[in-house]
């Protein structure tokens, strides 16, 4: 349990790891926009190529990347099927009467549409995972979000408090998971069986774990609050930071590249052939 991984951060030295976390948040938003700019075969081809390039640049191994895709396989399959059979077009390839009132049509446009949607979903997930989860530590991400949202302080959004809560949550995930293990062992020693019985019985067996865990979490929270106050914490007011990150040349280059890529996609949309998405 001591080796519990926070998030899915993959430590490596790569140009993407080296980017400023704030820039990576912006880049991933822009990249999401890019996936929605594509309209035809050429543009989607370029998008898929860019995703492959990103994977290579990030030096995250393919096996780790594929793990990000696995949870959305069902959504991908579902979207593909819907697009395949429910897209109406001009070129009818195949038609089949299944029931008297239900006929399945397969249009060429359906195949295009399904392929486009698949590329879009995969690239969407890959892009955000590469920019955010795989190459940025959760704590850097929290700091980045705090920094990017800081203008909202003007309208009294508690940005600093939100970031502090995130940090503390991250800090206590391993501590509480260790504690859960301890409590489970203690309850097992008293004869509680967590692996037997149906769903309801198993859920009931969790109660003697959750109650002590909550009690302990509240006690910890109380002690932590006192300790923080003793270390002169009084919110974000008048607080400085040890590490102030600056945007470098590389960050602006990356921004320029992504913007240029988006513009390129718009241009490619004009020179397409075959099916064009609306």
């Amino acid at each position: 349990m001591k080796n519990i991984a926070l998030g899915q951060f993959y430590p490596a030295r790569s140009p993407i790891h080296a980017l400023d976390a704030r820039m990576k948040v912006i880049l991933s938003i822009l990249y999401i926009v890019c996936t929605f700019l594509c309209k035809n075969v050429l543009a989607f081809g370029a998008l898929a190529l860019s995703a492959v390039l990103l994977i290579l640049l990030s030096r995250v191994p393919m096996r780790t990347i594929l793990r990000a895709i696995r949870p959305i396989l069902f959504i991908m399959l579902f979207t593909a099927l819907i697009n395949l059979f429910f897209t109406k077009g001009e070129t009818l390839l195949w038609s089949q009467q299944i029931l008297p009132f239900w006929r399945i049509d397969l249009h060429l446009e359906g195949i295009y549409s399904a392929a486009f949607m698949l590329v879009r979903i995969v690239v969407l997930i890959l892009g955000t995972s590469i920019f955010l989860t795989y190459t940025t530590t959760p704590i850097a991400l929290t700091d980045a979000i705090e920094s990017l949202l800081s203008p909202l302080r003007v309208i009294h959004v508690p940005v600093h408090e939100f970031a502090m809560m995130m940090t503390i949550a991250l800090r206590f995930i391993p501590t509480l998971s260790e504690e859960t293990e301890k409590i489970m062992n203690a309850q097992k020693a008293r004869g509680v069986d967590f692996s037997q019985g149906g769903l309801i019985r198993r859920a009931k067996a969790l109660i003697p774990i959750l109650i002590p865990l909550f009690v302990s979490a509240f006690r910890r929270a109380d002690e932590l609050a006192t300790a923080m106050e003793c270390r002169c914490y009084r919110g974000g007011k008048g607080r400085t930071k040890m590490t102030v990150s600056h945007l470098h040349f590389g960050d602006f280059t990356a921004l320029l590249l992504v913007v240029a890529f988006g513009t390129g996609l718009i241009l490619l949309n004009r020179y397409g052939f075959g099916f064009t998405m609306v």
């Binding site: 503390i168 002690e223 300790a227 106050e229 003793c230 270390r231 607080r239 590490t243």
Partner: protein, 288 residues
């Protein structure tokens, strides 16, 4: 008066929430000078932790005088800013090492205090490196706190205080949850701070062996000061300690037991070495 850091006179305190509550502290009067190394001894519920919590404004006394580092804590118009100023000077290390570390990386946690004080970035960096070096944790600057041992976590907590440059550190049973090795690490760290940097150290404990190392021992029982003096003076009166629900250090108990059996031993050993020396000399005298 300048070198008196903590001045308490007839201090009373009880927990307000409980109605008709019995006061936890009943008239504590004590003066602690700057640079002293004081152990506060007492069994569970004696009020020793309550006393510690008064010293940096976690609790507020009901009556009596209490001045810590120039801040009058018994004053009715005590402001949050006063307490903030006090806490810059008086740091506290708690019992559970897990519940006082805030950040996910050791050096970020050490930086937490100075960040709260609004120290400029470059200065924080310098203080953090220095503080980690002082407690011997520089190697672990980039580690995650949950992978450290209990003693190491407490040393990180101490570094977090050093980086705030306090004049006094209070250790509220900070060694109670540690194994013997971790306990030694922590004690050696604060003894070093006391000797080399002149930081006033108050350690609240129920370990006799720990109290025996201090320059001064204050025994609190039932909310009152039972005894106040050097470890030698305190442990000489074994009956009084037993009456307060405390044990005498093992070596003191051994010497007392030997004396009862009629072995002639002179002096009041406090540490293990002194005790061994005394017995050796007695044996040599017998044989020679």
């Amino acid at each position: 008066m300048e070198d008196i850091l903590i001045h308490a006179k007839d201090l009373w305190c009880s927990y307000e929430e409980e109605e008709n509550s019995v006061p936890v502290l009943r008239g504590i009067s004590v003066d602690i000078r700057r640079g002293e190394y004081v152990a506060i001894l007492g069994h569970n519920g004696s009020g020793k932790s309550t006393f510690a919590k008064l010293l940096n404004g976690i609790l507020i006394p009901q009556s009596g005088e209490l001045t810590v580092a120039g801040t009058d804590l018994a004053s009715p118009d005590l402001t949050d800013d006063d307490i903030f100023a006090l806490r810059r000077q008086v740091g506290m290390v708690f019992q559970n090492p897990d519940n006082q570390l805030v950040a996910t990386i050791v050096e970020d946690d050490v930086a937490f205090g100075p960040e709260n004080l609004g120290v400029p970035s470059a200065e924080i960096r310098r203080r953090v490196d220095e503080a980690l070096a002082t407690v011997g944790m520089s190697k672990y600057a980039k580690h995650e706190p949950h992978r450290l041992s209990g003693g190491q976590k407490q040393r990180v907590a101490i570094a977090g205080l050093i980086a705030m440059m306090p004049t006094c550190m209070i250790f509220d049973e900070s060694t109670a949850m540690l194994d013997p090795a971790g306990r030694r690490e922590v004690i050696e760290t604060f003894e070093k701070l006391n000797k080399e940097q002149g930081i006033t150290v108050l350690t609240i404990t129920h370990y006799m062996s720990e109290a025996a190392r201090a320059d001064r021992v204050i025994v609190i029982d039932d909310g009152r000061i039972l005894a106040d003096g050097t470890p030698r003076e305190i442990f000489a009166d074994a009956e009084r300690l037993v009456a307060a629900g405390l044990d005498v250090p093992q070596c003191t108990a051994l010497i007392h037991a030997l004396r009862e059996k009629g072995v002639a031993l002179e002096g009041e050993p406090v540490t293990l070495e002194e005790c061994a020396d005394l017995i050796c000399r007695a044996l040599e005298g017998k044989n020679g």
